[in-house]
Amino acid sequence: MGVKHSSWVILAAGLAGWFAPACGSEENVSSLRVLDASVVLLELPSGMGRAERPAVEFKHGLHTKALEHLGCKTCHVVGDKQIVRAELNWPEVPKDSRDWMDAYHAFCLGCHQEKTEALLAEAPIDCGLCHIKRGAGLSGRAPMRMSASLHARHIKAEKDRCESCHHFYDEKSKKLMTQPGTESNCSHCHHKDHRQGRDIISNGKQLSYREAAHLGCVNCHIRRSNEGKESGPWLCDGCHDRDEQTKFATLDPVPRLQRDQPDLIWLDASTSKISPVPFDHKSHETFTAACSDCHHNTLEACSTCHPTRGDKRGEGITLEQAYHQVRSRMSCVGCHNEQLEKRVCAGCHGMLSREPGRDACKICHPLADDSGKMQDDLKKILAPPAWPALPNPSDDFPDKIGIDKISDQYAAADFPHRRIVLALDRIVRENKLAMRFHLDNETMCAGCHHHNPKEARFLACSACHSEKSHPVKDLPNLTQAYHRQCIGCHQRMDHPAQECEDCHKIKSKEVSP
C-alpha cells in the first residue's frame, strides 16, 4: 500500500470512516474551541437518521495512552502479522441505528464500568459526560502531506524497497502484487473521498485513501518501533498536529527520486506539424514540489491519458491542450505563467500582456525544420543560454535620467536607469526559466520599453506618451505613464519607494485649480 502523499492520521477508533474530524459542525461558529488533533467524532453512519444525543468527541490520544499496556487489540481487530485494523473489535457488525447505539454503549460502557475503579478513575459512565452538546470546534488536525524530503527519508529507511508501500491489485489472482517501475500515487487507486469507500473493509472492496494510509503507515511504524528500528509516529498527534509537522526532519538537498525517468527528453507528438520540444526533465524535478504537480497521480507519460485526439481517461483534454492550457497549473504554459506572479517577475510581467508574442513558440519549439538528428542535439539545445553582459553606460544606455519635463508641483526626479537594469539583470541571471525565456538583454528591457520596434534603438517614454492622454487608444499621458510604470512595479516587487516623496520632493502642496 502506498505511503506517498498519504495522510497519516492515527485513526484507530471506530469502524473506519464512520467518523469525521470534529471540525465545522453545524453549531454556531462564534464559540470556536481548538480541538486536539486526536479527537474523532463518533456519530451514527449517514442515512441512519438523527441520533437522540449529540455525537461523542472521542479523545483517541487519551485512550491510547491509558490503554498502552493492553495494546490496540483492546478495541481494534488485530489481524494476521499483528496488523491493527481500523474496525472495532465488537462481536458483530451493527446494522441499524439502534444496533449501532447498543454496540457503542456495550463497547465503551462495558470497558468504562469494568475498569473505572481499577484503571481509569475518570472514565465517565453517565450519558451527559460523553454526549455533550458543544459549539463547533476548530480542529488542530492538519492533513498529512508526504513531501519529497519525507518520501526520500522513507526510501532510505526501507533501503530502496519501493514494494514496502507501493503495490497494485491483480484482478486475476485477487491479490496485491508489486511490480517495480509501476509505482504511482496512493490516490490513484485509493479513493480520496473516504465516504465513497466507507465500509470497504467489511465489503472487501478497495480501501479508501484514509483507511489505506492509516492501515499502512501506522502498522509499519508500530512494527518498526517494536523491532527497535528508527520509526515514525504512530499516535494521532505525531502526524496530524500542526506543530509536530513543522518538526519533521528534512533532507537538504533532497536526493533525486529514481524511477527510470529520463534526464533530457524530446516531447514529441508524432502527428504534430510543429517541431518537438526539448525538455529538461531532471531540472523540472527540482522546480516542482512533487511528481504529481505534473503527472497527476500516476507516473505515466502525458500522452497515455492525453492522446492527440483526447481520451476519456484524460477528460477529453488533448495532448496539445495538456501542454498549453493557460488556466491549468498542470500544463507547461499554465505553470510557466504562474511563475510570473512571483515577486521578482511580477514587477514587469504584472503590467505586460500575457498574450504570447510572435516568437513565443520558438522558445519551446526551437527547431524550425524537423531534422532527423534531434536526439544528439538535446544536450546542446538545453544548455544554459549565453546571457550577454550589459553594455557600459553611454548615451544609449544612460546611467541616470532626469525626469523634469513635466515637473509642476513636484521637483524633478532622478531616475536611476542603470541601477534598475542591473537589478533586473541579476534577477534574470539567477533564474533558469527567466534566462531561457528572455533570450537577450533587449527582451528584458521590453519590460519598461514596451511596444518598442524590434531591432530599433530604445525610445524614451515621451516618444509615445505626450502631455495629453489619448482615451480612445487607452494611451496614458506622460505623468500617468511614469506613475503607473514606476509605482506599479514598486508595488508588485514590494519595493520600499511607494510614496510621492520617496521619488521627488514636493515644491508646493497646492494643486492649481
Binding site: N337, S353, E355, P471, D474, G488, R492, E499
Partner: protein, 323 residues
C-alpha cells in the same frame, strides 16, 4: 342614459391599457443618449493618493480637503460622501506583501436612468445628453426623496444650512465638460486610474484591458448594465463585493420597478373625482328612485288597503277596530 354591460367592459379595458403607461405603448428601446460621456475607474491602478478628492474640492469651491491628500490615516474607516466632500476614496484591502492595497473612489454614479430623478416630483434632476445628471436647486423643495432613493448612497444634503439647503453631489464636472475639459479628478489622477471619454469607448477600453490582462482583472465592468447602467464604470482586480459594491445587481433600471405603479397616480387624480361623483350621483339617484317608488307603493297600498278594508270592512276591519 343607461350603461350596458358591454359598454362598461370596453371602457374598463381602455382604462387599464391607459394605466399601464408608456412602457406597454412602445416597441422601441432607448439605449441612452448617443455619444454620452462617462468615466472609467480602474481600481487596479488606483494608488490611494486622494488627488482626486483634493481636485474635486478645489473645482467645486468646497472647504480645503482635511486631512490633506497623502494622509493615509483616513483609510482606517470607510467614509461616505458629505456636503463638503463629493467624492471619497476608500481602502477596501490592505497591502499584503507585494499585493498592493485596493482603493475605490466613490461618488454619484450618474445613472443612465437615475432613481433620484424618478422620485423627484418637481423634476429637479435631469439626465443630460452629455451624461451627467444635473440638479436644479431652484426647483428643489428639500424633500430629500432623492437622497434616500439613491442605491449608491452618493447624495448628501446641506443639513447645516438653515435657509437654502441643497442636495449636493458630484456633478461630473458638467461645466468643465461643456468647456471641453475633463472632469477634475480624471485630469489630476497621476496614474490614469480615472479615464474620461465617451462611454462606448470606455467600455471598449475596459474590455480590451480585461482581454489583454486576464490575470489583473475580474471579468466584469461594474456599471455597464447594473440598474440600467451608469456613467461611472469600475474595473477591479478583486471581487466587487470586497469593494463595497453589492454583486449580482439587476440590470433592470430601478425606476422601472416603480414607474408602472406611480404612473397611475395622475390617472387616479383625473378619474377619481368623476368616478366618485358618478357613484355618488348613482347612489343618490337610486335612493331617490327607491324613495319615489316607496312613496308610490305606500300610496297605492294605502288605496288598496283602503279599498279592501272597505270591501271586507264589515267582517275583518270591524274585528280589527274592535279592541
Amino acid at each position: 342614459m343607461s350603461v350596458t354591460r358591454r359598454g362598461f367592459i370596453k371602457g374598463a379595458a381602455v382604462g387599464v391599457l391607459a394605466c399601464s403607461g408608456a412602457k406597454a405603448g412602445t416597441t422601441k428601446h432607448f439605449p441612452g443618449y448617443p455619444g454620452r460621456t462617462g468615466l472609467l475607474h480602474d481600481t487596479t491602478l488606483c494608488v490611494g493618493c486622494r488627488s482626486c478628492e483634493q481636485a474635486c474640492n478645489q473645482v467645486n469651491e468646497l472647504d480645503p480637503l482635511m486631512p490633506p491628500a497623502g494622509d493615509h490615516t483616513v483609510f482606517s474607516t470607510e467614509r461616505a460622501v458629505t456636503e463638503n466632500l463629493y467624492t471619497v476614496v476608500n481602502r477596501y484591502q490592505e497591502k499584503q506583501g507585494n499585493q498592493p492595497a485596493v482603493f475605490r473612489k466613490h461618488q454619484c454614479m450618474h445613472c443612465n436612468e437615475p432613481c433620484c430623478a424618478s422620485v423627484c416630483f418637481v423634476k429637479a434632476f435631469e439626465k443630460t445628453p452629455e451624461g451627467p445628471v444635473l440638479y436644479k436647486p431652484e426647483l428643489c423643495v428639500g424633500c430629500r426623496y432623492c437622497v434616500f432613493a439613491c442605491p449608491y448612497y452618493a447624495l448628501a444634503y446641506e443639513y447645516d444650512d438653515p435657509l437654502t439647503p441643497k442636495v449636493v453631489r458630484c456633478t461630473m464636472c458638467y461645466p468643465r465638460i461643456k468647456k471641453g475639459l475633463q472632469p477634475a479628478c480624471a485630469d489630476i489622477c497621476p496614474t490614469g486610474a480615472i479615464l474620461f471619454g465617451k462611454r462606448v469607448d470606455l467600455i471598449k477600453i475596459a474590455r480590451e484591458r480585461m482581454r489583454k490582462f486576464p490575470h489583473r482583472y475580474i471579468d466584469h465592468i461594474f456599471g455597464e448594465h447594473e440598474y440600467g447602467g451608469t456613467s461611472w464604470l469600475t474595473l477591479a482586480g478583486v471581487s466587487f463585493k470586497k469593494l463595497g459594491i453589492p454583486d449580482g445587481l439587476t440590470h433592470e433600471p430601478l425606476p422601472n420597478l416603480t414607474t408602472g405603479f406611480l404612473s397611475l397616480a395622475p390617472l387616479v387624480a383625473a378619474i377619481f373625482p368623476g368616478l366618485l361623483a358618478g357613484i355618488y350621483a348613482f347612489t343618490k339617484r337610486k335612493e331617490k328612485l327607491s324613495e319615489t317608488e316607496r312613496r308610490t307603493l305606500s300610496a297605492g297600498e294605502r288605496t288598496e288597503v283602503k279599498s279592501s278594508s272597505h270591501k271586507h270592512g264589515n267582517v275583518e276591519g270591524g274585528k280589527e277596530d274592535t279592541p
